[in-house]
Symmetry: C2
Subunit: 326 residues, 2 copies
Amino acid sequence: MSNTHPQGEFELIRDYFQRQSLQRADVHMGIGDDGAVVSVPVDKQLVLVMDTMVAGIHFPLQTSAYDLGWKSLAVNLSDLAAMGAEPAWLTLALTLPHSDAEWVKTFSLGLFALASAYNIQLIGGDTTRGPLSITVQAHGLVEKGGALLRSGAEVGDLIYVSGFPGEAALGLILLQSNLQHHPSYEHLLARLNRPEPRLGLGRSLHDIASACIDISDGLLADLQHILDASGVGAEVLIDGLPLSEDYRAAVDDKQLYRAALSGGDDYELLFTVPKTKQAEIDKIAEDSKCLLTCIGEITEGNTIRCLDAQGNEYTPEHLGFEHFAE
Amino acid sequence: MSNTHPQGEFELIRDYFQRQSLQRADVHMGIGDDGAVVSVPVDKQLVLVMDTMVAGIHFPLQTSAYDLGWKSLAVNLSDLAAMGAEPAWLTLALTLPHSDAEWVKTFSLGLFALASAYNIQLIGGDTTRGPLSITVQAHGLVEKGGALLRSGAEVGDLIYVSGFPGEAALGLILLQSNLQHHPSYEHLLARLNRPEPRLGLGRSLHDIASACIDISDGLLADLQHILDASGVGAEVLIDGLPLSEDYRAAVDDKQLYRAALSGGDDYELLFTVPKTKQAEIDKIAEDSKCLLTCIGEITEGNTIRCLDAQGNEYTPEHLGFEHFAE
């Protein structure tokens, strides 16, 4: 046998994932063995989330490698935010049609930009050949018994949403309609490709909110998940929905609420709060400079009623985005 | 809005993954929220492994759903075995071209058969549409500082392998050559499709072996990973390789050693042991009814020399299986 063993392109592109400068003290073995070894603090529980993004299904084929690196982690951190957890580590399963060193390098830069900003270390994963697909598992820590669940909403609780839901869906529409010249294009596309997970907000809410979810399928679809888990219904006041100027500039009046109610990919937090804690929510909004808007109230029943300012029922066209529902 | 919200096929097939009867006491939230919540014992560290299997790359397209469910977990448990860890939980990212309830049901039965046998609970994941691909992350527990790594091999240590390496590769060859009538077909194909992770052996070795890896790429390729991590070389005595009767029945003399040295997908353990611990290895082999064969010795240098019984150097054709190395 020769003195050097063959090193495939496969191993070469893996090297990019070993270049994160961040090294957490609780990581005893990261990339480079059969598995990673980490320590969980004795007063914490471990929270695990996992999301897959497939080319052409979850993102347009022209999405940049940097944005994919960022977003594949961001959607997972958003789940950790919705659980009230503090992120710690991530693993990555990346499947690529062919070994493209430049692509992988750029992807890793997008991933690491977000990971290192939140003190999260990439500790392992798998890189394989096949149709482009990205699965990230993120691991977070939460106080024992302190995870925010979907199941705690009670009749009378107020329903809040962070930020401006619907902007990401409008970004996708502008992109697919080739409306790059639209004055709101840059902002709305950034909302699609570089979502900012609401980690600080999630941590602030973990002992205040009664239920929480992040908006990935659409506001109404995800609200329904809270209702199903909690055994309650909801009234949503559509005139109270927070619609940004960029949002209003990109929609016509006839479809004013559609993206905000049914657009996916926002990664804002949707949560319920007992009325007695309204002042605490106001303070969190002020401290975190994060817009928090009350959009309705939890009711009896198991469905959502959308009402306009006159109290008339409003029927949205569809609840949200569903894979397989062709 | 109607009284019932639409439930896609997507959600329907997800239901199959909620049917595992096993419920571990350390799982506080499993499938059904934004993330799973689990507890790690204070005296343990967490071990994380992740493997992706892509249709047509990692398994032939005709592989049954049951076998894929079994194998996608088995290859991860094999990594946990190689770390000396005891498995606890798994998450699954399943990407399917279309929602096929029967396929998913059968897949879940294969997955749960293996999971429940080792007291492992499926606690989350993601089911998406796209080209068939399966990513499993498995989580195990190990004593603090007790994980078996690749990096501890020292000059003079003995090299052992469990079971009969090469059988899985021969199973694949028989399958691809349409040799279903071959007397060893059933056995060798089972070795390919239903690998038994060496979890008990890994636990027994965790304070005895100096280094350990599981054979996924091929014996020599994986031995090289130990050598790279430990900064040592190795001599392998090819006449000492354990070759089963089924193995011998499926190869010609000219290629006698090829599958054993370079065939992937065996998921046997390859490990090194100080010579002073040889008696302990003999006892483990006896207690566990697992064949453990000494196949060589760690040397100085950084490469592998294969020697026959006469001391002549033997040059294998290739080290192992590499993705992207087309």
